[in-house]
Symmetry: C2
Subunit: 205 residues, 2 copies
């Protein structure tokens, strides 16, 4: 029901259209499934709207290619070849970000790698390089103190133009939650892992 | 962290591999965002694994084409043309299901249209026509009593082969939640609608 009627109309001097054009900062947190999957679903939707999509994965191994990455890559190729949808970039911290020339200095230092990832995102936000950012599992380096949450929140709140940002992961810091326009907690009610199952291709990744 | 270690190993006489091959019945419920989006994200992943994907939308207007539908259609074309991924079908109740020859008899009767949709899904499950089903906003016709929940649960529990089913919508009936392998509640923490914003293309649809 996306075209719902707003519950309140703020006294901010903006028209509905101006308000609608505001960029969204979304956080998917909680212990349940679907945090990243919903973010990638949003990325698929953003692609369809012609937005420039960039995904930054902060934790998953670089060796481990999720199904969404392959599918988004396929959509990115459709853009490149047919001009449909938007361009897609997918970056993984794993064994070193793709934009780093020498990965050796950060490969064994996960904290440094995470900071390097955030520095690059901050640069791209300043340059308005993309329209839709997924910062997947970005709450962990914040939670672990590897990246300064206050600096991140300041940068996100002050980001120029019309750039949407979706951040996923458990234990989202309170300051980030407070700054976000849209926060969803995915709460686990039941999960097959509890019944001794392991993941399976096409379902879990 | 999909490759997690199971918390318990059930005494069901199955090997881990047999257990892993079990089809999943998932429910995304709650008042928060991301229920359908996470289901479509899972569909994208299933497509990548070569599964035959079918989406059935029970409520959204047929006039209203969500970004995910266009993106999944693009992925389906990649399958048809290049043999990559799986085939994709997308059916909407809206102004009448595509498989109905004469829509006139159900167009004005939403309860009849919903039952017709479920009857078709039950047929396809019996024939193992797809590998991955999204029953989007299917909880509403159950909640409203248009479709018998016990019959649905029985059909889902007894479905043959290895067919995954994801059901989305608020107020999932207890019997459905009990029967599901994976239940996630999307809980709203903050939403821009509350601040008087309306939806925007690429973000909300």
């Amino acid at each position: 029901m996306p075209q719902g009627v707003p519950q309140t109309v703020p006294d901010d001097g903006l028209t509905t259209r101006q308000r609608r054009q505001q960029p969204v900062l979304a956080v998917h947190t909680g212990d349940g499934k679907g945090k990243s999957t919903a973010a990638f679903g949003m990325a698929m939707r953003a692609w369809n709207a012609g937005l420039r999509v960039a995904v930054f994965q902060f934790v998953k191994s670089a060796k481990w290619r999720v199904g969404e990455e392959s599918a988004m890559a396929a959509l990115g190729e459709i853009h490149n070849e047919q001009g449909i949808g938007g361009p897609v970039e997918w970056h993984k911290m794993g064994q070193g970000w793709s934009w780093l020339r020498a990965n050796a200095d950060v490969a064994d230092d996960h904290a440094a790698a995470a900071r390097s990832g955030w520095d690059e995102i901050a640069r791209r936000l300043a340059e308005e390089q993309h329209d839709f950012y997924v910062l997947d599992e970005f709450t962990y380096p914040l939670d672990w103190g590897w990246i300064d949450t206050d600096e991140v929140v300041r940068t996100l709140v002050d980001r120029p133009g019309r750039q949407h940002v979706v951040i996923t992961g458990r234990r989202a810091p309170a300051a980030l939650v407070d700054a976000a326009d849209l926060v969803t907690e995915m709460r686990k009610v039941a999960h097959p892992m509890d019944a001794g199952r392991k993941g399976q291709k096409g379902i879990e990744w």
